[in-house]
């Protein structure tokens, strides 16, 4: 009789914990929705340890940009096909084998999600 009670208690507490954890998920997701994809992309692009795009590119309101690479402006006109812009970020050596641009996708410098966000931001410049 005693043993049965213990097992039931364990089952009950496991279930309760699961319900509590599951119910907090929507709250966490909502925090992320605060920043738009493009805003997330800007943060990643400007982060020295992530995109560090300002090292070489003039772009948006970024401060102290380098001048190694073309300024990122009128991007929709220069890259009407967003996928081509993404491909350039993913691996710029495909279009230009002599490029100084790191292959952010091929070398996993940024994750696929981070690249999506950066492209979203850059495409709007």
């Amino acid at each position: 009789m005693k043993v049965r009670n213990h097992w039931t208690k364990l089952l009950l507490s496991l279930t309760t914990v699961t319900i509590i954890v599951a119910s907090t998920q929507p709250l966490l997701a909502e925090d992320k929705k605060e920043l738009s994809k493009a805003e997330q992309g800007r943060a990643i692009a400007f982060d020295r340890k992530k995109g560090n795009c300002l090292a070489c590119h003039v772009m948006g309101d970024g401060e102290m940009p380098g001048n190694i690479a073309p300024p990122l402006i009128v991007m929709k006109a220069r890259y009407p096909d967003k996928a081509k812009l993404r491909a350039q970020v993913w691996d710029a050596t495909v279009k230009n084998p002599n490029t100084a641009m790191p292959p952010f996708g091929r070398h996993q410098i940024l994750s696929e999600k981070e690249i999506d966000a950066v492209v979203e931001y850059v495409y709007g410049l």
């Binding site: 002599n98 091929r106 996993q108």
Partner: protein
Amino acid sequence: MKNKLLITLLASLVMSANVALAESAKDIIASAETAQKKAASVGGEWRDVGKFIKAAKTALKNGDKKKATKLAKKALQQSKDGYSQAMRQAEVALELPAYMKK
């Protein structure tokens, strides 16, 4: 009686999954170390590989198999990329580039 059986079954499933994860993490760490040595042998080791492997071992020791696997996979992939980078460069980076003319 039924409850006891159910929970025993669940527990053993969880335990065996844990063991499988732990073994998998250890294997991946070992693979990463092999790949690290291979990349190093051609001068193609990347900066953070050693750090990731060390952190993976620590995570495994602390029982965080998920973290250990994630870090080990990173180290493994970066080692592979560093190796192929070095092998490719051995073929193409031998003469001053064309833009360096007399």
